[in-house]
Symmetry: C2
Subunit: 344 residues, 2 copies
DNA sequence: CTGAAAGCGCTAACAA
DNA sequence: TTGTTAGCGCTTTCAG
């Protein structure tokens, strides 16, 4: 990229410029700009005035190198397109608000190799901590994180061994509890609709827990329907039509997320099916975005915002007990029956 | 925050460590790690092996300071919660893919003061370019951007004067075109439902364009309903009920976004209203997420992904003509009648 | 309260 | 192809 010269190009301003204009040493200027207390009000005024007239913006790169301190927290998630993650990020941002730390996001597209790369890039900026979605990483990624010397918090999932700290829910348990609720309500011919992504470990674990309970009850999944690509109402609608045309006798549909579940619900309502009498439905996530349908879809709330907040608290050293590393927080997923599982 | 010491705490590795282990000068190690061509295959091997066994992660802070080059592009948007922005980010990421540049995101919560702050923080990391949503900024923010010496691209909106480059659509025009379509279809008692946020300038401009056309036709907005907070189907449903209970004679509802528009659509369908015969509806954005409803909501596509891509191309110097600064790209918003505006 | 000196870890520029 | 030297712009440390 050629050097970019806007109308009035100038060399970037440095502390020295502010120092000269204000007639105060660079060191003192630096103190003022960092809000350190040991500066006389008079000098402070002079310096601030000079900085303002020049439009000086400090160079954090130099500052970070000199102080060996970086007020950044790396946050690594699979995708921004999946509405689940923006909520986690919201929690992180909120909790980091006045910690002096700033989150920096990176997305992996659910690809382990890409994740390794993003982690490497992030660590090369020497952040104060890292928050990473999921427990499954390449060996190299685990090693980098483990050796980074900063707090690492793995989030969203608690089924596995964390590198350092962990904040999440058990997706196996979420799957089990949903299966138990469904069986208790009397449904027996159960279908599953979910993504094909082999790297969506959390969806996989939910299905495992779900299947375990069915099996223990002597039942197996009657039918399965997979899809590729992003989730949408349209996709859920279409998959539901497909699976029901193959197996019209199904009496329950468990979706791997609320978005396709809601699409399925729309389909069932449009078809005039008796929900939840003849057929029940459930999703996963507790997307409040989707409230507003005639019937509320049964779901499991994944505590997304709380997960983000707790993780951020650990990274910023604000968690209850003052410890920073090695914390293990498992939140309880809350099952919400909504209107699409019949009551016993 | 106390220094964090994980099980095997160690001082961070430096080039020097790799240099010593491989028996090659720091400078040459640096060359290998930056993939520069002028290194013999033999040395390259040695160095890479040493770096790998140590688990060395370069320090980009030092690198950036020395080279005066930062491969980061700052991206500033109002909110991640509004699904519109993740799509823009997707476009940016895609276009930046193999440019060697990495996007870094910041959110402003639609607050000008917060935006100023985020811009300041970002600029202090000396990014290679900035992409900022909207044309309205505080004077200080404009000044900082203008004096930064890097390419600045303002996106989403083309109704105003950019600091440097611009990629967006005219929201006034989008509003006007929708009004024209609605009038042409014969609707006359028109209500508007939108957010209260005074800082959502783009929604404001759409409404202005919309009202202008109505006025020119001798019609004025029959009723208005405002809300605060995030958009959701539930909110749209509720607002629709409210506005219609006040003015049951309305024959068209124009929503400031698709999410509340879709909520309104659900309400109307549940009530058994004749859509689009008796009452028409339209939103804004072209959220494909919402396709899958029985009727497709009329909307205007805001070209979000394309905006992101074009902006990223400008920043990375990849745009057609080789110029970097001062570009002005206005995309044409595409009106989609869907199923909720009756055909003439 | 203020200033001077040293150096953070890396790379540009030049020399060998 | 490789090495040496001199900073990048700031903060730490210590002296005044």
């Amino acid at each position: 990229m050629p050097p970019y010269l806007p109308p009035e190009a100038q060399r970037p301003l440095t502390l020295r410029d502010v120092s000269e204009l204000s007639g105060v040493s660079e060191m003192t200027v630096s103190r003022v700009l960092r809000n350190r207390a040991d500066v006389s009000p008079a000098t402070r005024e002079k310096v601030l005035a000079a900085a303002k007239t020049l439009g000086y913006v400090p160079n954090k790169i130099a500052g970070a190198l000199a102080s060996q301190r970086v007020n950044l927290v790396g946050v690594i998630i699979p995708s921004l397109a999946n509405m689940v993650f923006p909520e986690v990020l919201g929690g992180i941002s909120a909790a980091l608000e006045d910690s002096g730390l700033q989150p920096v996001f990176g997305a992996t597209d659910y690809k382990a190799e890409r994740e390794e790369n993003v982690i490497y890039e992030m660590l090369s900026w020497r952040p104060s901590g890292m928050i990473v979605a999921g427990l499954e990483h390449t060996d190299a990624a685990r090693a980098m994180l483990a050796n980074s010397g900063i707090p690492i918090v793995e989030i969203m999932d608690s089924d596995g061994e964390p590198i350092d700290s962990l904040v999440g829910i058990s997706h196996r348990r979420a799957g089990r509890e949903m299966a138990e609720a469904i069986l208790a309500a009397g449904y027996r011919k159960i279908g599953f609709l979910g993504s094909k992504m082999p790297d969506d470990h959390r969806a996989r674990k939910r299905l495992e827990g779900f299947s375990d309970v069915l099996q223990a009850a002597g039942i197996s999944l009657a039918e399965t329907e997979h899809y590729a690509g992003g989730s949408s109402l349209a996709k859920g609608r279409e998959m539901t039509q497909t699976i029901l045309s193959r197996r019209p006798d199904l009496d329950f549909l468990y979706y791997s997320n609320d978005m396709i579940g809601a699409g399925g619900l729309l389909y069932c309502l449009d078809q005039g099916f008796d929900v939840p009498g003849k057929i029940g439905l459930a999703g996963f996530n507790g997307l409040e975005l989707l409230e507003g349908f005639r019937l509320r879809l049964a779901t499991t709330d994944a505590c997304r915002r709380e997960i983000g907040m707790r993780a951020a608290e650990i990274v910023s050293g604000k968690s209850d007990d003052g410890l920073i590393g090695g914390r293990h927080i498992e939140l309880a997923p809350r099952l919400d029956f909504g209107d699409t599982i019949r009551r016993a």
